[in-house]
Symmetry: C2
Subunit: 307 residues, 2 copies
């Protein structure tokens, strides 16, 4: 297999969007943005041995994950994704079958969310498998939800359950796009982020960007079954995993308590659990409050590269 | 150095554009496109050992090259670049100095061309150094020049001189942005591409996309001094290097002979040589014509990954 014939194989199988004027096969792709006010951009790089382990998962899993991570970032702004460009570094001696399986995983999820692959770069090197996904989104008449809008008095909500994603969810998660769009359309959102580094680490990103602090309710954190299972192996508590583990790709948000009550009571987010896990306060940092009323400061903990 | 403190260091030093509503530091960057009709997108991945060799060049060279390659792709559409997102995989044990030197190289060229770095991803892994640059461009009232517009009877022009870029130019080249914009604004361009794979390989991309063939004038190919120097080492002719070597990042274009005459006679492209190297003909493939009139078919030859 050569680079150009593989690109041609991709090009022929790619589903097209109407707003893409020029897709795969030129120096740049070209998108019609004449009906848009804003373009959103996000990029994520994943490398074998750090973000996944090809000895323990399939390359199709990896293709799926790479696209889902970027969708999750656009969903966390409460806006719809549109197109993507994908760069791939294949190790030397990669087979055609392997390369095509990767694209099956990519299409499994990009087709589902109507995202067109409009370009990319295929290279080879003496390197572990590495993939970079850059995704664009549009405002669609909505205001992108930033990290910096949290206010003292806000409730903190989170979708789904947390912790132990390493056991499987980091590969199989469904990006919360439907939920992100629904929340942005129907509620007055103050701040939102997707949980990729870990609950406390990502909450801390909101707190620092907004200049506020937070109290988390210890008994309200939605601990996942995977966190319980993992805790038996690691010796850490399930709560520790729910607070610290990365790659759950759930949405973490703040909004007024009145708006939060509406979110929690609406019947429209029924296929995903939403929990109120705390509140935004003046000051800085994160405090953990026990049901008995005890409060202690905790350090944000999560995955950080280059440490 | 941690990932987050390094990102903060980048964010503080980054020059801002007015049309960027939200730069580094959220799930997505947000750009105002309300005055644009089209958004252009290109992406390039470069890995140590394939696209450069950190034993023979500095990391600042690499930062410079990574951005310049993407500018070259937007320039080849005849449109201005705007913003970029950059993903980097640092090998384990990367020093802060190394990471900052990379960004100096990136800014050396992005600042010059008023391109804002609006986001990225910084990861680490057991991997050679790898960088991915995705760049956006805007139409600015211009029509993007595709590869597919070449017509029989067109002249084939190329900027600069070709071959032997491995000796230095692949790191130090100036992307032909000024020239690409000038050409698109002032002439009726039919097709354009930047020479990254090699003259014959990239010409062949134009030919295949346009459904035409080409005759190259053997004595008109602008052979570089580097091609002559390299030929003494390799045993290949200087012409071979000019026809086959990649990464010259010159602009290769086709337009009517009347328009080409205007390009060649204009005084406005004086700081870069422009040569007429052949013509587009009906049919397919590339023929090489000697001054004596002999014509022979040649195969497009250039760099292809995964071969």
């Amino acid at each position: 297999m050569g680079e150009f014939s593989f690109i041609e194989w991709i090009r022929k199988r790619q589903k097209r969007r109407k707003d893409v004027k020029l897709g795969i096969g030129d120096d740049c792709a070209v998108m019609d943005v004449s009906s848009d006010k804003l373009t959103l951009i996000t990029t994520d790089m994943l490398v074998d041995g750090t973000h996944f382990d090809l000895k323990k998962c399939t390359i199709r899993d990896v293709g799926r994950k790479a696209i889902a991570c970027s969708i999750s970032d656009v969903a966390a702004m409460g806006c719809p994704p549109t197109v993507t460009v994908i760069s791939i570094c294949f190790p030397d001696h990669t087979t055609e079958k392997f390369a095509r399986e990767l694209y099956k995983g990519i299409w499994d999820i990009s087709d589902k969310y109507n995202i067109e692959i409009v370009g990319g770069d295929i290279i080879s090197g003496r390197s572990p498998f590495c993939i970079n996904v850059t995704m664009l989104g549009r405002d669609d008449g909505l205001k992108p939800i930033r990290r910096s809008g949290a206010r003292a008095g806000d409730a903190i909500l989170v979708t789904g359950t947390l912790g132990g994603s390493i056991l499987r969810k980091h590969l199989s998660f469904e990006p919360r796009l439907k939920e992100g769009l629904f929340l942005n359309k129907n509620f007055s959102m103050h701040a939102m982020i997707d949980i990729s580094d870990g609950l406390t680490a990502d909450l801390n990103h909101i707190l620092e960007a907004s200049g506020v602090g937070a109290i988390l309710y210890k008994d309200q954190i939605p601990v996942s079954d995977a966190a319980m299972k993992l805790s038996k192996k690691t010796g850490h508590t399930p709560l520790y995993h729910a607070l610290s583990d990365g790659e759950d790709y759930e949405l973490l948000m703040t909004l007024s308590k009145a708006q939060a009550k509406r979110v929690l009571s609406t019947g429209l987010l029924t296929d995903v659990k939403v929990s109120c896990i705390g509140e935004i306060v003046k000051g800085s940092g994160i405090q953990l409050k026990s049901p008995g009323g005890n409060i202690r400061r905790i350090k944000p903990r999560g995955y950080e590269h280059l440490k």
